[in-house]
Amino acid sequence: MARSLPSKLLIAFSSILLAHACYSAHEHSLLSTTTTTTHDPLSSSSSPSFSSPHSSTIPSGSTLPLDITLETLLSVSLLLVGIVSSGWELKPISLRSYAGGVESGRILVDGKKGKGLFVGLEERAGFADVRKQRKEFTDWMKTQG
C-alpha cells in the first residue's frame, strides 16, 4: 500500500479538523453544563466565571451548534475519502484475468514482474545426457581401481 501525497495531505488536514471539532464539542458541553447549573447551589462555587449573559439561550448540553455538527460531518467524510483513496490494492479473483495480468506484467507478484502461473512447466531442465553421465561413471570407476 503506497500512499500518495494528496491523500496523505487530506488525511492530515481532516484529522486536525476532527480533533478541533471534538475539542469544540467538549468545550461546548462543558460551558453549557456549567452555565445551566450555576443556579444549583452545589456547583455554584466550582466555576462561577463561566456564567455568561447567554445562559438562558442555551437549553441543555445535548444540542450542538450547527457549525460543530457541520465540521464533524465534513471532517469525517473527508477522512473517509482520504483513507479509501490511499492506494489499497485488490487483485482480480478470476484466474483468467489474474494469469493474464501476471504474464503481461500489469500485476506485480511480490513487487516484481512475474513470469506467469505456468513457469514451472515452461522452465524445466532439458533431457539428461546419458552418454556423458556413463562416461563420467566409467572414469570414476577407473580412478577407484
Partner: protein, 110 residues
C-alpha cells in the same frame, strides 16, 4: 454438478486473491467504522439515531470502496459484486463502531 459448480469449472477463481481482497476490505471497514463511531460520539447521537448514522455512513464507505478501490467494477474483485461489499461492510464493523461511539460520547459529554 449444479450450475454454480459448473460455473467454477468453466471460470476458475484464485482463492488466495479472494482471501487477500476480503482481508483488505475488512481492514478498511474496521478503520472507517471506528471513525464513524468518533463522529457519532461527538455529535452525541443516541439509540436509533446512532445506528441510522452508522447505516448511512457504511453505505457512503461502500460507495467509496466500489468507486475508488474497485474502479466501479466490484464483480472483478469479489464474488458477490457490490451486494457482497455492502453486506460485509454493514455487518463487519458494528462492534468497533459501538466501542468508539460510547468512548467519545463519554469523553465529550464528561
Amino acid at each position: 454438478m449444479n450450475a454454480e459448480e459448473r460455473d467454477l469449472q468453466l471460470y476458475p477463481i484464485v482463492p488466495e486473491n479472494l482471501i487477500a481482497n476480503s482481508k483488505t476490505i475488512s481492514d478498511l471497514q474496521s478503520l472507517s467504522s471506528s471513525l464513524l463511531g468518533i463522529a457519532a460520539g461527538i455529535l452525541g447521537l443516541e439509540s436509533y439515531t446512532g445506528f441510522l448514522f452508522y447505516l448511512l455512513g457504511t453505505l457512503f464507505v461502500s460507495t467509496l470502496i466500489v468507486t475508488f478501490v474497485m474502479g466501479g467494477k466490484p464483480e472483478v474483485y469479489s464474488r458477490g459484486g457490490w451486494k457482497d461489499v455492502i453486506a460485509a461492510d454493514v455487518t463487519g464493523g458494528v462492534m468497533g463502531f459501538v466501542l468508539t461511539w460510547t468512548l467519545f460520547f463519554g469523553l465529550v459529554r464528561v
